[in-house]
Amino acid sequence: MELIHHLMLGFSVATHPVNIAYCLLGVTLGTFIGVLPGIGPLSGVAMLLPVTYVLPPTAAIIMLAGIFYGAQYGGSITSILVNIPGDASAAVTCIDGHAMAVRGRAGAALSMSKIASFAGGCFATLMIMLLGPVLTDVALQFGPAEYFSLMVVGLVTAVTLAHGSQLRGLAMVILGLMLGFVGTDVQTGTLRFTFGFEKLSDGVNLVALAIGLFGFSHIILNMEALVSRKIEMPKIIGILPTLADLKACVKPILRGMGVGSLLGVLPGGGAVLSSFTAYTVEKRLAADPSRFGHGAIEGVAAPEAANNAASQTSFIPLLTLGIPPNPVIALIGGALTIQGVIPGPEIISEQPHLFWGIVASMWIGNLMLLVLNLPLVGLWIRLLRVPRGILFPAIILFSCIGVYSVDNSAFDVGVAVFFGILGYAFLKFDCEPGPLLLGFVLGPMMEQNLRRAMLLSHGDPTVFLTQPISLALLLVAGGLVAVMVSSVLRNGHQQKLESEMSN
C-alpha cells in the first residue's frame, strides 16, 4: 500500500514538464553517446555534468540517469552494424550481433537488442522499487573472499566465450589477465609493466583496449576485403525479429536481467561484467552452443538485457548508502553533491520526491527509449549502405575522438593503435578478442581481492572455504570445470572411437 503511495508521489514528480523534458533530453543524448564509438556513459556523463549545475537536483539526476541507461541502448548499434563497440559494455554484442548483420539479419539483431534493453531496464526499475534494501544488504555481504570466488566463476566461464580453438581461447584469457596487471599495484604501490609511461600507471584504458582490439582490427579486415572485392552486401532480411526469435529469447532475457541486476549492485561489477557474464551463461546453457559466434540471437538479447539492468541497479548503493559502485554513478553522486543533495541513507527518507521521482522517471525513460529506438532501426540499417569509402574514415575518426575523450588523453589513442595492431594479428591467427577483454576486466579484481582477503584473514587461506557465499561460488566453479573437462575427454574419446570404427 505504501508502495503505491510512493509510486504516485514519484510519478507526480516525474511527469512534471521540466522533468519529462530533461528525461527526454537525457535518454536521447544517451542513445546518441552510446552510438558514438569510444564515447560511453562515463565520458558522456562527465562532459554533460556541468550542464546540470543550473538545473534543479531532481531534473539533473533524471537527465544524467537517462544518459547512463540510454547509452546502453545505443551502444549495441555500432557493435551490430560495423563490429565496433559503442562502449566496452557493448563489446560482447559484437560477437553474435555482427555475425547476424553479416547474414542479413541486422534488423532483427537491432530490434531485439532494444527489446531486451527495455525488458532489462524495466526489471531493474522493479528491483530498485521492491528490493532496494535487500540488494544493498547483498552488496554488504560481499567481501574480498566472496568477490574472489565470484571472479573465479567468471574466469572459468570466460573460456567458453571462444567459439574457435579452446587452447587459443584460454591463452587469450590469460593474456587479458596479464594486461590487467599493467599499472599501479593497489597493495604496494609498485608500478608494474608501465615501461616509464606515466599514463600507464593507471592501467590500460578499457575503452582504448576495446576499440583497438575489436574496432580498428575489424575495420582493417573489412578494408582488406574491399580491396580484394570479396565483400558482399548481405540482403537485409526483415527489420523485426521473427516470432521464433522472440520465443527463443524469453529465457535468455530473463536470465540476463537477473544477472545484470545482481552484478550492477556490486562495486566493480557493472555493465561490462554483466554483459559478458550473461553471454557466457547463455552459451553454457544453450542446447547447441556451437551456434554462438555465428549469429545466435540469444547472444544479443541476454547481454543487452544484462547491461541495461546493471546500469540501473547500480544506482541502488548510491541512493541507499551513498556509495557509488562504479565511476559513472560516482560522477552522478558528485553532481548531486554539487547541488547540495548529499547522497546517503537519508535520501529515501528526507528526499522521497527525489528518490521516487528517479524511479518513476526510469519507467518513463525506458518507454521513451523503446519508442525512440525501435522505429529508428530501419534508419540505422541504411547505414550499411553508406559507401565504405565514407563510412570507414568516419568511423576511425569518431573512434579516435571517442577514445581521446575518456581522459582527454592522446596517449590512450596510441594505446588503441597498439591494440589495433595486436587485434589485427589475432584476427589473422583466429584468436578471439572476447575472452581477452573478460580476462582484462576480471584479472585485477581477482588479484586485489585475493590478496586483500589474505591480508584480512591474517594469512589464513581457508577463509575462502569457511565463508558460505565464497564456498558456494567456488563449488560452482569447480563443477563447471568438471563439466568442461569431462566434455573434452568425452569428445576426445568419441573421436578415438570413431577413428577406430572407421579403420
Binding site: 558514438l36 554533460l48 609498485t190 582493417i220 569509402g389 574514415p393 593503435v417 588479484e447
Partner: protein
C-alpha cells in the same frame, strides 16, 4: 625430419603469447614476489607469465601437427592506412586542433580504401569535420581546440 607448418594461426599466436609471457617472467622478479600466503606484486605476473609461455609453446608445437585453413593474406595498404591515421591523430590532436587533425585522419584512412575520387574525399572531409565540431565541441563540450592553438 622436415617440419611443415600446418597452422599459421597456432604458430603466429603461439609466438605472440610466448613473447608476452616471456616479458612477464623476466620482469616479475623485479617486483617483489613474496610467498603464497603473502603474495607480492610479482607473484601473479610470474605464474601467469610462466603459464603463458607454456601455452605459447604448446601452440607452436601444435602448429606442426594440426592443420588449420590458412588465413587471408594481409595487405599493406588498409593496415597502414588505419594504423597511420590513428597514430597520427594521437600525435597531432593536442597541438593541431580538431579541424586539421580530422582532415588528416580522414584523408589517410581514405587512402586505404580502393578507388576513390577527390570529390568524395573533399565532401567527406568537409562534412565529417563539420559534424565532429558540432557534435563533440558544441553539443558535448569537449575541451578540444578547433584551430591549432599555436595560432592564438
Amino acid at each position: 625430419m622436415r617440419l611443415r607448418i600446418l597452422s599459421v594461426q597456432d604458430l603466429g599466436s603461439g609466438l605472440i603469447f610466448m613473447s608476452f609471457g616471456a616479458i612477464a617472467v623476466v620482469l616479475a622478479p623485479s617486483y617483489h614476489i613474496g610467498t603464497a600466503l603473502r603474495m607480492g606484486p610479482g607473484y601473479f605476473p610470474l605464474i601467469l607469465g610462466g603459464l603463458m609461455v607454456l601455452v605459447g609453446a604448446a601452440l607452436i608445437l601444435r602448429s606442426f601437427r594440426v592443420t588449420d585453413p590458412p588465413p587471408a593474406l594481409p595487405r599493406l595498404r588498409p593496415f597502414a592506412a588505419v594504423i597511420a591515421a590513428a597514430a597520427i591523430f594521437a600525435l597531432i590532436v593536442d597541438s593541431a586542433g580538431v579541424v586539421v587533425t580530422s582532415i588528416v585522419t580522414l584523408t589517410i584512412t581514405y587512402s586505404g580504401v580502393r578507388g576513390g575520387n577527390r570529390r568524395e574525399l573533399l565532401l567527406l572531409c568537409i562534412g565529417m569535420t563539420a559534424a565532429v565540431c558540432v557534435v563533440f565541441i558544441y553539443i558535448l563540450g569537449m575541451p578540444l581546440y578547433i584551430w591549432p592553438p599555436l595560432w592564438n
